[in-house]
């Protein structure tokens, strides 16, 4: 039955593409951690089943390293057949400059608009009524991952919200553990901060700051508790001497650290380590305070190619990425939520279910990738990494500088 559906899916794709030959397509992405690599292998398998060949162009070292390489290849006239971006504003100018091709025909033929889990996902791929990317997963940042083992060894119960987590810090330190694992890369510091804004400040504050870019609110009294929380956060994270996010997750998995604020892609790492949600680790969506998630995610874009056969194969790839089978297999490995709502998530674990519930209630906000430009984002990252590492910088100073960035934001 599954094979049958695969073949049907493949044949519709070929129908659209007008009888394509087997083509080698190079797909660049930055899915390189264990869980991510396992997930992307599922896409490769599904695409190879159509008779084409997935040529994997993984670029290690997080999106900040990978995106410049991708962009220079596209603008430099050596485009790959497809590439990952976080949909939103990262590829905005490439699309406007006509360097990307639309895939609207596949989306219309297969009725993606009816199947999509949240309409916002397709909207952030759309420019002038044409669809330019396939959203492949829904990721949200607002998760606190806790190590049950670490808390057991410290002899205290696993916290249920941010305040309890902060209170548990000294006990963990006594037990020789780092309370909060955090990689020393700018995006991780900025990401954790935006989680504090949404999860402690609530969706209204989040929208005013990141969407409306209201610098008075950013400088005002509502943000003061957030900066105090950020101050506590950096003190709890002081002892974690790791760089990459998955090294930080590993500290949680092995019980060397109490917890980590990281997007739900961290769950892929827990799964790779055969950890069970609820018994080995605990997740607190919205830090256990405000059950709101931002719908960020990864999307695959298709640069404009001059080769007709490869262009046809790009449409086949788009169809495969959105197919139910590939969506299920990919997201199960990656720990993210699928972009289709018509899937049976029988195997979803405890944490994924909590996420799905929040999505179903509509407690979602747009992610900062969709709201602020990469330029503003970089400025915030620079500020946050400095704040986290430099204990001499007061929360008041940091807030004033943050408000300046928001005032100039575009």
């Amino acid at each position: 039955m599954k094979m049958m559906r695969m073949m049907l899916a493949a044949s519709t794709a070929i129908g659209i593409a007008g009888g394509a030959w087997a083509e080698d397509l190079e797909i660049t992405h930055w899915w390189t951690s264990g869980g991510e690599a396992a997930a992307v292998a599922e896409f490769a398998k599904a695409f190879d089943a159509t008779g084409n060949k997935w040529v994997d162009g993984a670029i290690a070292g997080s999106g900040n390293t990978a995106r410049p390489i991708m962009i220079s290849r596209i603008t430099g006239g050596d485009p790959m057949a497809a590439t990952q971006f976080n949909h939103g504003r990262q590829a905005e100018e490439l699309v406007e400059a006509g360097l990307m091709r639309p895939i609207t025909e596949v989306a219309e033929a297969e009725g993606w608009a009816n199947a999509i889990a949240a309409p916002g996902l397709l909207e952030s791929c759309t420019l002038d009524d044409e669809l330019y990317c396939v959203p492949v997963n829904i990721h949200s940042w607002q998760w606190l991952w806790l190590s049950n083992k670490a808390y057991e060894e410290a002899g205290i119960p696993v916290p249920k919200n941010w305040a309890e987590f902060v209170a548990s810090g000294p006990k963990l330190q006594e037990a020789g553990k780092v309370p909060l694992a955090m990689g020393k890369q700018p995006w991780q510091a900025a990401g954790a901060f935006k989680v504090l804004v949404l999860s402690l400040g609530g969706p209204e504050l989040y929208t005013k700051v990141y969407d409306e870019k209201d610098s008075e609110v950013a400088a005002g009294a509502d943000m003061i508790p957030i900066w105090q929380a950020a101050d506590e956060m950096r003190k709890l994270a002081a002892g974690s001497n790791v760089q990459e996010w998955n090294q930080a997750t590993n500290l949680v998995i092995t019980g060397q650290a109490g917890g980590q604020i990281m997007g739900d892609w961290a769950q892929g790492e827990f799964q790779m380590a055969n950890q069970v949600a609820g018994t080995d680790y605990t997740c607190l969506p919205g830090l256990g305070d405000q059950p709101y998630l931002s719908t960020a995610g990864d999307a695959i874009y298709f640069p404009l190619l001059s080769d007709d056969a490869k262009s046809a194969a790009q449409l086949e790839l788009a169809s495969v990425l959105f197919s139910s089978e590939a969506q299920l297999a990919f997201n199960a490995k990656k720990g993210s939520l699928p972009v289709r709502k018509d899937l049976d998530l029988a195997e979803a674990n405890d944490c994924m279910r909590q996420g799905l519930d929040i999505l179903a209630k509509g407690n979602i906000v747009a992610d900062t990738d969709q709201l602020i430009s990469p330029d503003t984002n970089t400025q915030i990252q620079d500020l946050m990494i400095q704040f986290v590492s430099d204990m001499n910088m007061t929360p008041e100073d940091a807030q004033a500088r943050f408000a300046e960035i928001i005032a100039d934001a575009d």
Partner: protein, 295 residues
């Protein structure tokens, strides 16, 4: 009387042969630089565009904390790296020049780090200086439990950690250049100095070093070029961290152009780098080449 052939056609073959290089220099270096300076006055984001904004990019640049930290770091690294690599390099070369045994072995050992790229150097020193894997861990393992040595995780010290790795990598080359210079000094000068009863250190300082002026100039140019383009060592060793404590101008340019998708800002920063190089270069070139023409 027949007119002499115009100077323009004198030595024709050599001139034709150098045309490609002249063109490359004009188009790639000069043309590219001018293009960059011009576009630094636009608000180009991911792609260059001609929307003029005057000096806005420069105002933002000099109001950005990270840029100021980068300049400060480059100054610290530059001055110290220049002094230390010249001093250490020369002292090593002078020691090597005492007709010691196994000179080849020592020369190889000292020059070896130079065979490694900055990326490898950066990673090696990142691990050596990492408190959980490196020196601190080893010393604690021996029994000194309270020993702390984590320069890369201390914002005030991190730039010196990078300086150390840079010196480790670069002084071998300086030593070799200096050694070549020392070997070029005529034996008779040493003999004469000895006859006059001048101590060895004075001979070095007042006779040998002034005679090695060309070698010092070459070395200076090589070291300075390495300082201005300092980038990969920082990326590999600290990634600019902790915080922004080890950011350098070249990294700011790259991050702005490609990561922040703000070409205009990156161009403004690279123009400032160009200006600073020119400020150093012009007086030096004037002294070096302007003087010779007179004589």
């Amino acid at each position: 009387m027949s007119t002499r052939p115009s100077r323009l056609f004198h030595n024709m073959n050599a001139k034709i042969a150098s045309v490609p290089m002249v063109l490359t220099a004009m188009v790639v270096f000069l043309g590219g630089s001018i293009w960059t300076v011009v576009y630094s006055f636009t608000d180009s984001k991911l792609l260059p565009r001609e929307k003029w904004v005057g000096l806005d990019q420069y105002e933002r640049l000099w109001g950005t904390n990270r840029w100021l930290v980068s300049i400060e770091n480059l100054a610290i690294y530059g001055v110290l790296s220049l002094i230390f690599s010249l001093v250490i390099g020369f002292v090593l070369a002078a020691l090597m020049d005492q007709k010691i045994r196994f000179e080849d072995v020592f020369r190889t050992i000292f020059l070896y780090p130079f065979a490694l790229s900055f990326i490898v150097t950066g990673l090696v020193w990142q691990w050596l200086l990492n408190p959980d894997f490196g020196v601190q861990n080893v010393i604690r393992g021996i029994g000194f439990e309270s020993f702390t040595f984590d320069p890369l995780y201390d914002a005030d010290l991190a730039i010196y950690g990078i300086l150390f790795a840079g010196l480790w990598q670069g002084t071998g080359l300086v030593m070799c250049l200096m050694l070549a210079g020392l070997r070029g000094i005529d034996e008779d000068i040493w003999k004469a100095a000895r006859v006059d009863g001048i101590p060895a250190w004075k001979t070095y300082l007042f006779i040998v070093i002034p005679m090695m002026r060309p070698v010092f100039i070459t070395t200076l140019v090589i070291i300075t070029a390495g300082i201005v383009k300092l980038y990969d060592l920082v990326v590999a060793q600290t990634g600019g961290g902790p915080g922004i404590a080890t950011e350098v101008p070249a990294k700011y340019v790259y991050d702005m152009m490609f990561q922040a998708q703000n070409l205009g800002q990156g161009f403004a920063a690279s123009t400032m780098m160009l200006v600073s190089v020119i400020i150093i270069l012009i007086p030096w070139a004037y002294l070096e080449f302007g003087g010779k023409r007179r004589g």
